[in-house]
């Protein structure tokens, strides 16, 4: 059976990308997409291309920085790294996300 796949809620992708960059260090777009897919283990329906608007958004806010470099197999690639502001944002967002999940969880529990 095909595993249940959910779309990525808007704004969620930014958070996931930030978290990936924090735990993995600098990565190029393909690396980020691969890593997210590995972590989601097939439970996320993600067109890999959609991370590029997210990367641009994060750069514009100063939460990540992109730089051209060379990948292992000698290919020109743009590598992204998280900035100090990005770490702070990630912490704040994670906290608020956890609070939301906790509240929703409690509300749904009460109904069953």
């Amino acid at each position: 059976m095909k595993p249940l796949q959910s779309d990525v809620p808007y704004g969620m992708l930014d958070l996931i990308v930030l978290n990936t960059l924090r735990s993995m260090g600098p990565l190029h777009g393909y690396g980020i997409a691969r890593r997210i897919e590995q972590m989601a283990q097939g439970s996320l329906a993600l067109n890999q291309g959609t991370i590029y608007p997210a990367l641009l958004r994060l750069q514009q806010r100063g939460w990540i920085r992109g730089q051209w470099g060379t990948s292992q197999n000698n290919r020109r690639a743009r590598f992204y790294r998280i900035t100090a502001a990005g770490r702070k944002q990630l912490e704040a967002e994670t906290e608020s996300w956890e609070r939301t999940v906790a509240v929703v969880g409690r509300l749904l529990e009460g109904q069953s």
Binding site: G29, Y30, N47, Q48, G49, Y52, P53, R61, R75, R76
Partner: protein, 169 residues
């Protein structure tokens, strides 16, 4: 602050758009290459691997368009488009454009003329020092209606016994 920095980078985006767009194209191409290689490693033939990579990536053009929109200010973009369109239309209908330009030029010229006249003659202060030492002289001939100004004069030497006389009818 984030909002501000996002705005600034969008403003810059309007300027550096072309380069950023080209860079994104290179970046996406590299991504597709890597994805294709991965599929080949998994056993797909190169002919099958490329379309598979494209499918997994999603619409390349759509994504580039989303980034383009995000990079620039929509307002500035559409304004530039409108301007270009306007210039094209002007070029297409030469005679109409010439008449329109001429009309505008005459209108603006005439308005400027009238306004500078009014400013210089009626609004600007007279180029003299000690305005309050000046005396205004009117002629007042009832049979001809309102009093008429003759001019402003400065007495060469104030008369010791000078006084204003209101009306000598």
């Amino acid at each position: 602050m984030n909002r501000a920095s996002a705005f600034v980078s969008r403003m810059l985006g309007v300027v550096t758009r072309r380069r950023a767009d080209a860079e994104l194209r290179v970046e996406i191409q590299a991504h597709l290459d890597l994805l294709t290689e991965e599929y080949v490693r998994q056993g797909l033939s190169p002919e099958d691997a490329r379309p598979a990579a494209r499918r997994e990536f999603g619409g390349v053009e759509q994504i580039r368009q989303v980034c383009r929109d995000q990079r620039g200010l929509r307002v500035v973009d559409t304004l530039a488009q409108d301007l270009r369109q306007g210039v094209r239309l002007l070029g297409r209908n030469r005679a109409f454009s010439a008449v329109a330009v001429l009309t505008l030029a005459l209108g603006i010229g005439a308005t400027v003329l009238v306004f500078s006249y009014v400013t210089a003659v009626l609004m600007a202060a007279a180029p003299v020092v000690d305005m309050d030492q000046l005396a205004g002289v009117w002629s007042d001939n009832r049979s001809q209606g309102e009093p008429k100004a003759v001019g402003l004069f400065r007495p060469a030497r104030p008369e010791p016994g000078a006084r204003s006389c209101d009306r000598t009818a």
